[in-house]
Assembly symmetry: C2
Homo-oligomer: 142 residues x 2
DNA sequence: CTTAATTAGGACAATTATATCCGATTTTAA
DNA sequence: TTAAAATCGGATATAATTGTCCTAATTAAG
């Protein structure tokens, strides 16, 4: 079961944090990431591939190839990752599923949820991979 | 795609709001709720059935039967409904899916998320079906 | 007593999300 | 030139969620 963000998106965030912590290395392979973070390898392959179509990460085929951040970790936020993988549905949809919920036609928690939702967006917008890389010291990431 | 709460849970919330607005009537049928709220009828049947095993709603078989709130709408909160349908996973799980995320071993957004999550819980805890019934004036509920 | 309207409950189907497999291509190093 | 290690990309498999169908049991009204 996933919560707000899809499983794919969670894997993407975790993997990019891993990459951010390996900035000294040119390329990091799917195999390495998957085994350290306990993510299904082939599934991760597809996720990273789709991220490599954006300007967030880049890939290199062949021996000693792999993936690498495409720009400075300080310029990649968790929000950027979520936006690519999950799109904007999580910040558009009514939290209790009322059809056509809007300011003009609000559900019972519309106003309150709008504030909370904005705080969630703010939370992931202001966390860059640089911030995060220094904070994460979990096993698997070292 | 659902967001935090499952589709089932969204349907349950909507249906119980509907019931709260029909307090004058003894029983309300699945057919009526489903057609007014545009919820798949048989799916709703199962959802309401499972809620009727708790003390939130009760059911009556046979002609002119249906469902009805089992207690005063002021004593049923959105939280109560969520708890029955979705359990507590939504307020236990790490928002970016870090395994073993905890106070001792926090993910990068752990502390911030904890606050937001508590606010979400508070939001649904303090909304009773009585509050909600008077607020909702959407088409389908009248 | 019969009929119609309803919930109950099991089986099944469809859809979506997650995960796996395999062969092709690319790249580097021996 | 060959072999190994990697991504790429399509096909397929599995699991979870959502939705449908059918029959039985129940109840009230005529």
């Amino acid at each position: 079961m996933s919560l707000i963000f899809s499983r794919q998106c969670e894997y993407a965030i975790q993997s990019l944090i891993y990459l951010a912590k390996k900035q000294d290395r040119e390329w990091v392979s799917i195999t390495e990431i998957a085994s350290n973070l306990k993510i299904p390898k082939h599934f991760l392959g597809k996720i990273l591939q789709s991220l490599s179509f954006t300007n967030i990460i880049k890939s290199q085929k062949g021996l000693h190839g792999g993936f690498s951040l495409a720009k400075n970790p300080k310029d990649i936020s968790l929000f950027d990752i979520v936006e690519v993988v999950d799109g904007d549905a999580y910040r558009k949809k009514c939290v209790i599923g009322f059809p056509d919920c809007s300011n003009n036609n609000p559900c019972p928690v519309h106003t309150k949820w709008k504030d909370l939702r904005d705080s969630i967006v703010e939370m992931i917008k202001k966390k860059s991979l640089l911030d995060v890389a220094s904070e994460v010291t979990k096993p698997g990431y070292e």
